[in-house]
Symmetry: C2
Subunit: 87 residues, 2 copies
DNA sequence: TCAAATTACGGTCGACGTAAGGATC
DNA sequence: GATCCTTACGTCGACCGTAATTTGA
C-alpha cells in the first residue's frame, strides 16, 4: 500500500468515476483502474462496485475511506511542517 | 512522499542507526541511506544529524515523527479493516 | 449502442543490490 | 583503523501511457 494509491482511491470515491478521477489526477483512466485494482487485490476486498455508468463505494470502501483520509492528511502535515521549518 | 519512506524514517529514528534500521527492514544500508536522503530532499530539510557513530533526529525530524506515525498507523488500520471484512 | 471500465502490451524510469569511497571516533 | 554513512553504478521490475476489448444501462 502506498500513499498514491490512497490518493487515487479518495479521488475516485469523491467523484464516483474513474474517468473523472483520472482527469483530476492528471493521468489516464486505465492507469487509475490499475491502481485501484492493485489496492483491492492487496487488501483482498472490493472497494467499489462497478455500475456501468461509474463506480460506487462498497461497505468496505466506506469503512476504509476515513483512514485513507487520515493517512493522506498526515502526509500533508509532514509537508507543511517541513515547509514551515524551512522559513 | 510514500508510506515506505515514512516506515524507513521511523525505523531509523527508533534505532538511531541506518545500519540497524536496514537489518530490521530486511534491506541494505545504502538503500536506507538513499531513501532517507530522498525524503529529506523532497521535504527540503534535514531529518537526521549524522554523527559518525549513528544518527540523531533533528528538530524537524522530531516534529515530523508524530505525523509519520499517524500516517503509518492509519495504513495499518486500513489493512486491519479489510482483513476483518474478509472474515 | 454508447459511455465507462478492463485487459494487453510496451517503454522508460526508479527501486534496490553490490562495490568502492569518504568521514568520524 | 574500525565502523558508520555516502556515492557510483548496474539490473530488474514497476509505473504509466496507448490501443484494443469488454461490460452494463
Amino acid at each position: 500500500m502506498e500513499l498514491r494509491q490512497l490518493e487515487y482511491f479518495l479521488e475516485c470515491a469523491q467523484r464516483g468515476s474513474l474517468t473523472r478521477a483520472a482527469e483530476a489526477l492528471y493521468t489516464t483512466q486505465p492507469h487509475v483502474s490499475q491502481v485501484i485494482r492493485a489496492l483491492e487485490q492487496e487488501l483482498g476486498t472490493a472497494l467499489f462496485r462497478r455500475t456501468g455508468s461509474g463506480i460506487v463505494l462498497t461497505e468496505d470502501g466506506e469503512r476504509i475511506r476515513f483512514y485513507a483520509e487520515n493517512a493522506v492528511k498526515n502526509a500533508a502535515l509532514i509537508r507543511d511542517t517541513a515547509a514551515d521549518a524551512g522559513v
